[in-house]
């Protein structure tokens, strides 16, 4: 095992301009917000983002000017409504949006995790989603070689970087996710580089005592960063709940054209440490 413990700053530098990035968690839960804030602070540009159902993590990267293209199954703020920066920049055509669907995004990531160039899925045929101009990845209608069944082959999605926030890791990159995993283990397998921020670094001995709780083994992980409250304002199961009040405030500032203020207060100023 190789030590991969590093700082937030250095880990964020592993994410390069124009790379394809996916983030862990789902909507407001275990989103890697602290790393997202650091990427905004470092002024990354031209990122391509892909995920099943992201929310504030993608929206903040968009609002921070880091993003050029998006592929998501859905990008919204749940019952609070549309993702403010996403909607504004998509309608202003400042970012390119590839309408996705959850299953092909999951299947594309799984294909990459399995080392396959593509994976077939059911459904999709008959939806206009099939005809949307390709931005990231792609679909192709195929027939199963045995049954002839009409399927949609989904091209593998191999992110340059997967950024996951988890509860615990050791300095070698063994990671323990508590509660639901979402597609985080798949993403760790699919991506070329894997950055994990955690609430707590714990001794390797803890992993050896309870190996069945390890969700990502060290050899899949390139960097580990201790980032307590690293999912805030998203939730981190067993540590803290989502701050729905903060999330609504975020929306308000963004929708009222005051997003720079939000960035100053919660992103840039926090970086001055």
């Amino acid at each position: 095992m190789r030590e991969v413990l590093t700082t937030l700053e250095d880990a964020a530098k592993m994410v390069k301009d124009d790379e394809l990035v996916t983030t862990g968690g789902a909507t407001f839960h275990r989103a890697p917000m602290e790393m997202v804030r650091e990427i905004v602070r470092q002024g990354r540009r031209g990122l391509n983002l892909v995920d099943r159902e992201p929310a504030i993590d993608f929206d903040l990267l968009i609002g921070g000017g880091c993003v050029s293209k998006i592929r998501a199954g859905m990008l919204a703020f749940e019952v609070f409504g549309l993702a403010p920066n996403f909607r504004q920049k998509a309608e202003a055509r400042e970012i390119v949006v590839k309408e996705g669907a959850c299953q092909p995004i999951i299947a594309g990531l799984r294909a990459a995790a399995m080392g396959l160039p593509s994976l077939p899925v059911k459904g999709l045929i008959g939806s206009d989603i099939m005809g949307v101009s390709e931005v990231i990845g792609g679909y192709k209608q195929v027939e199963d070689p045995f049954t002839g069944e009409k399927m949609v082959a989904v091209r593998a999605i191999e992110p340059d970087v997967a950024i996951v926030h988890a509860q615990k890791a050791d300095k070698y990159g063994n990671v323990r996710i508590e509660g639901p995993f979402y597609e985080d283990v798949i993403k760790a397998k699919a991506a070329k580089k894997v950055i994990v921020t955690v609430e707590e670094i714990i001794p390797n001995e803890e992993f050896r005592k309870m190996p069945e709780a390890t969700t990502i083994p060290h050899f899949l992980v390139d960097a580990v960063v201790e980032a307590p409250k690293g999912a805030y304002p998203a939730s981190c199961f067993n540590y803290y709940d989502a701050d729905y009040g903060h999330i609504q405030e975020y929306m308000k500032w963004a929708n009222e054209g005051r997003f720079e203020e939000y960035l100053n207060q919660y992103v840039y100023r926090r970086g001055e440490r």
Binding site: A26, T27, F28, H29, R52, E53, A72, G73, M74, L75, A76, E78, V79, F80, L82, A83, F86, R87, A90, E91, R93, V97, E99, G100, A101, C102, Q103, P104, I106, R110, V121, K122, G123, L124, I125, G126, S127, D128, I129, V132, S133, K150, G179, P180, F181, Y182, E183, I186, S235, F237, D241, A242, Y244
Partner: protein, 257 residues
Amino acid sequence: MNSEGTPKVEIPDILISAMAQEINNYDTVLHGVSSPLPVLAMSVARRTHAPDMAYVSGAGGVDSEVEQIFPSSFDPRLNRRCVAYFGLYEAFDLAQRGELNLMFLGAAQIDRHGNTNLSVIGDPDHPKVQLPGGAATAFLMPITPKVVIWITRHSGRIFVKEVDFVTGQGYNHRTEEQRENELVVISNLGVMDFKNDARVMQLRSVHPGVSREAIQEKTGFELIIPSRVPETPEPTSEVLEIIRQLDPEGVRRAEFK
């Protein structure tokens, strides 16, 4: 019979109760994101007529004992006392095997064939309104034995002649086999299904106090209206109590504003 202690019935209650009625005991049912009404409907069904259903949460838990709902339908607190975690990708595998019996989906537009739009208003490459995206819709709509669409603001802007973008496949965009799968639409005005040879939308029931004419008027295409259209049953006081217990803060009302 609004007896002492029984709360007043509101429109969300009627939808939730009607949605719960679509669940049969032993069904395996999934809800997705932004789904306070499905979470409540599934919880109601489990606590009333469908105690043995398999309750698969988009939040990750199986057969959780939901105590309270939250603005996010993926809130991990929704997995309270679940018996297992089962990832969405695993639930999708189940759907591909035909073993997911029922899914609840939303829609920003719907037409008479049951096509739904959750993607974009206007030209997809030059969106007038960029919608949040279809999530599981294009995948699950055609292959799931039963899909229930809930719509909280029944109007001619939502029930349209033709959707701007087919996110979810109505019956005119399905294979012969997929046309056997059931589609039910539950709005704030009534319940619609497609149980006719042409597989077009027809009125099944009207909510209390809503006339057939009022529904037709707020629908942008001609509904098939049978000669006898019953009223949607009112939620029982037991159901109302469950809803109020699980949603003391009224998250369920957000979609109706």
